[in-house]
């Protein structure tokens, strides 16, 4: 009955394996099934030219398309000791971390960078779904807290871009506590009047949704992203009914009043830049 029961595992697995097609000349659109040349897909910001489906992108690509001229500086985030509970299921958590690090070349499921959007100073924190499903443990919590601190220091806006299955079970209660800690962190921005924006990307569920991700001053989403608290499978089992077709999509959340705008990938820099400008520049000559 927990939100993490929810993970909608089969779907997520699917997505992860799709990303790693060894034959990397072309990819198949999961939505319209069109075969697309990778070169063409990359040129189109990994959006299907046929149906507009937004493929996953790496955190580095995400950062470069958000910032002006693709220019940004990565920020080092606090080092956190691994595996506080010595967790082991079918695999050891320590081994899962090792494998994810080797695969992504990242320390954990988040990158923090600063740069400019529409010439305004902005700090961006991007989740990497490829790193243990973008799950939030202590490392992600500390990284988000440090992103907030950097934004405060630079008097910058903060944009968080979640893509996460939720809290990282392998850190038990310590991962649950990150919900409270990140919720608290973003309060500091609000109290200083610095814009805190959230860009929801596919997929964002569980404890990440139920904390900082739903507390943005303004919340944007990419089209078609799955965003929810409980997983669709668990809900279907609980209510024993067919779920609405568009259930938990960005469009569904928009229609239910949970998301301000759905923004296409190519328009993100422009839209975010305009919003930050409108929020922070009261009088423009």
């Amino acid at each position: 009955m927990n939100w993490l029961t929810n993970y909608v595992r089969p779907k997520i697995k699917n997505m992860m394996s799709q990303k790693e097609i060894p034959d990397n000349l072309w990819e198949k659109c999961p939505s319209c099934e069109k075969i697309i040349f990778v070169k063409e897909l990359d040129k189109n910001l990994r959006v299907c030219p046929e149906c507009g489906y937004h493929f996953k992108i790496t955190p580095e690509k995400r950062l470069s398309l958000l910032f002006d001229n693709g220019e940004y500086t990565l920020v080092s985030v606090p080092q956190v000791a691994d595996d506080p509970l010595h967790f082991s299921d079918l695999k050891k958590y320590a081994d899962r971390l090792k494998a994810s690090r080797a695969k992504t070349n990242q320390e954990d499921a988040i990158l923090v960078a600063h740069g400019r959007i529409n010439s305004h100073r902005v700090v961006v924190a991007v989740f990497n779904f490829g790193f243990m499903g973008g799950s939030m443990g202590r490392a992600v919590g500390e990284a988000l807290i440090s992103a907030v601190d950097l934004a405060l220091l630079q008097e910058a806006s903060l944009i968080i871009v979640p893509a996460s299955g939720g809290a990282r079970m392998q850190e038990g209660i310590l991962s649950l506590m990150q919900m409270a800690r990140t919720t608290m962190a973003v309060q500091k921005l609000k109290e200083k009047g610095l814009p805190y924006l959230v860009l929801l990307t596919h997929p964002t569920t569980g404890g990440v949704t139920a904390s900082f991700a739903m507390l943005g001053d303004i919340t944007l989403s990419e089209p078609g992203a799955i965003i929810g608290f409980a997983g669709a499978r668990v809900i279907a089992q609980t209510i024993r009914e067919k779920l609405p077709d568009d259930f938990q999509t960005a469009e569904y959340l928009h229609d239910h009043g949970m998301v301000d705008m759905i923004v296409k990938r190519k328009d993100l820099n422009k839209t975010l830049g305009r919003i930050i400008d409108l929020l922070t520049v009261r009088l423009k000559k």
Partner: protein
């Protein structure tokens, strides 16, 4: 009395004791002797079993159907309880009990998740699984408490927030996030207590507090053992393993500095002597409330934030 799988020896001794009490045979002197022998054996056995409960057994005790629930605590500890209803936005949510009352002389706001104790009341309270309107009512109650400078007591006992289409449509995630946010923004003392099951997001929504307490045999976890087992072991029947791996007991959470104090339960668990369990809880609440009352209200909020900022840093369990 429903006996748990590891209570067989307790069950036998309790049955013998009851037989002797009600249908005593032989002379009175022998009877009294035998009764006292069985009672001391029962006490020893119960102590022995309960002293070494494993995490899965604690999970079963935490979920025991006759364990005292939120409304029992309110009945036992809160005078003049005055239930208040509704989130002023959509509906009243009976999974989330809320109201005003007097706790040992202090006027307080009470919030709690209620599981119910019969088929009918379980349905009424949606098995203790709140929907967004429940968490939004909690926010409303915290604002009320702040406005009138009243401490907030919360009782946590839930498998988790309700997973349903309606709950998602109305923003379950946002409602939980807002409840935590509000807890960081009020200046009155907040005391949270996990009395049974502290199920993930649905629980932490009420557990961002100055003092977070847990009953000795309660659990608090990021995910249920069953959920964890079905995801990580791909087999829900591995729940026992998962309960161990998750470190969800009050004792482990105290070591991890996630909670502040453990409230002792009577011999054999809260369900064997609810009155004593609830009195123990009341005594601990009172102690903390008195201490928190001494702290300046502006400082209180800052201290609460600092506590959560430090939380999870530099902690780990021994291998």
């Amino acid at each position: 009395m429903k006996y748990l799988e590891f209570e067989k020896e307790i069950q036998e001794l309790e049955q013998k004791r009851d037989l002797l009490r009600h249908e005593g045979v032989g002379n009175r002197e022998n009877l009294a002797k035998e009764l006292s022998r069985i009672e001391s054996k029962l006490k020893r056995k119960t102590e022995e079993i309960y002293k070494s409960l494993n995490p899965w057994q604690k999970t079963l005790v935490a979920r025991h159907e006759t364990r005292p629930h939120t409304l029992d605590y309110i009945e036992a500890l809160i005078d003049d309880f005055t239930p208040l209803a509704g989130d002023r936005l959509f509906a009243e949510d009976a999974a989330m009990v809320s109201g005003l009352g007097r706790f040992r002389g202090h006027s307080v706001v009470v919030l709690g998740l209620e599981k119910g104790n019969s088929t009918q009341t379980r349905l009424e309270h949606n098995f203790g699984m709140s929907k967004p309107e429940g968490y939004r009512k909690a926010v409303r109650m915290m604002e009320l408490a702040n406005h009138f400078n009243l401490p907030v007591l919360t009782f946590i006992d839930t498998a988790g927030a309700y997973p349903g289409v309606d709950a998602e449509a109305r923003g379950q995630a946002e409602a939980i996030a807002k409840a935590m946010e509000k807890s960081f923004n009020i200046s009155v003392p907040l005391i949270a207590c996990v009395i049974g099951e502290g199920g993930s997001g649905g629980a932490i929504a009420l557990a961002v507090a100055d003092k977070v307490l847990m009953l000795e045999n309660s659990i608090y976890s990021v995910i249920s053992p069953e959920g964890c087992a079905s995801i990580l072991w791909r087999d829900a029947s591995m729940a026992k393993e998962a309960s161990k791996a998750l470190h969800l007991t009050a004792q482990d959470l105290l070591k991890l500095k996630v909670i502040d104090e453990i409230i002792p339960e009577p011999l054999g668990g809260a369900h064997r002597n609810p009155a004593e369990a609830m009195k123990n809880a009341g005594d601990v609440f009172e102690k903390h409330l008195k201490e928190l009352d001494k702290i300046d209200t502006q400082q209180l909020k800052g201290k609460r934030r600092d506590k959560f900022l430090q939380m999870t840093r530099d902690v780990s369990l021994k291998k």
